[in-house]
Amino acid sequence: MRSSEGQLPAAARLAGYRRPLPGTQPKHLHPPYASSLKRAPSRPLVYLPHTLSEITGPVFGAESVDVKAFDLTKQHSGEPAGERIIVSGRVIDEEGRPIRRTLIEIWQANAAGRYRHKIDQHDAPLDPNFTGVGHTLTDSEGRYRFITIKPGAYPWKNHYNAWRPAHIHFSLFGPAFATRLVTQMYFPGDALLPFDAVFNCTADEKARQGLISIFDWETTIPDRALGYRFDIVLSGREATPMEGHGGTR
């Protein structure tokens, strides 16, 4: 291999991804969230312009996906307990362009607010008919859809009488290493939201509100399940290649 010699390819001149506007993403240290105190880095981050390593990223296609995994209510012999819901939406970039065939992973508590995880010791029942894990690929328009159970709120040890509002965890890769996102979807009207240290970690009010799904008649199935809509926006592309990109000397 003689990769250190010769001309750099055109790939070196690809545009990077946009950085977030101030306040629209959390800082690592957020003192109201107690777990961040010993885990957030103490030194400033070092700015890394996006190279080919950041504008590429893992690609997962149909071979990585179980086509039935979008339905979390059909993973066991019986129906899970709780309120059946449809969670759907689109994955788009900051220009509104669809992110096609991208992997979404979700996990959540059951209707009683208990995760099927060995360290969750909340005194609420496990549901033999609910694992709380799903995944899917977006379609050619960036759309996705899950069928699941509305998760319950649960207590946690962040501070006295702390409770997490009902939420579903979402993990997305998007088109690049730079677009990787893990977030949480909440439900409209949840009385716990104003008190939650995780939900409130993002300074920008509009960005926080973007985590709250919208009740949706259109995707509600009569006599069957209520619909909630949750659109996810991944970082958009820089309009032009960055200064200093590529060039062969």
Binding site: M1, A12, P20, Y33, K38, R39, T51, H135, V233
Partner: protein
Amino acid sequence: MSLTATTSQTVGPFFLIGFDRMSQKDLAPPGVSGERIEIVGRVLDGDGAPVADAVIEIWQANAHGKYAHPEDLQDKPIEPQFRGYGRCATDDDGKFHFATIKPGRVPGLDGKWQAPHIAVSVFMRGLLIRLVTRIYFPDDPANGEDFALKQVDAWRRETLIAKKVAGQEGAMEWNVILQGPGETVFFDC
């Protein structure tokens, strides 16, 4: 007019139920070309205590310096069996490990090739947004001219460079130190 990217939230303490399916600790099945390496390490918090509920994800080029991604337009061979993606949760001692191959060099932004490196994301309870860092390789002469390493103060660069494990061919140690002396360099990516 443009939208604002969705804000990040922590993976929380129970993410493993969701992340386990896509765990990938061995990236290079037999037949994949390149120098076989094993990366072992630990994640330690501000008290030096092991973080038993972290997950490390890695992304790397193949031995030719080619990413398995449609935007890598370099005229270099793709190896269908090598995807370049890894994911490993830490154990009770905060340990993780990957078996892979040393990546080749990929282009940087300064008109030069980058030193071989692996891109890393770190997730855990307590992190509201992932940490991004890189793994570089010991004794690689290209480290001295690497574009990203040059962004880092010289005295902190060694936190990004794995160390050989004595007596174990191909094994190297690279740790994630979240705070304090020896704190790993994390990137704004």
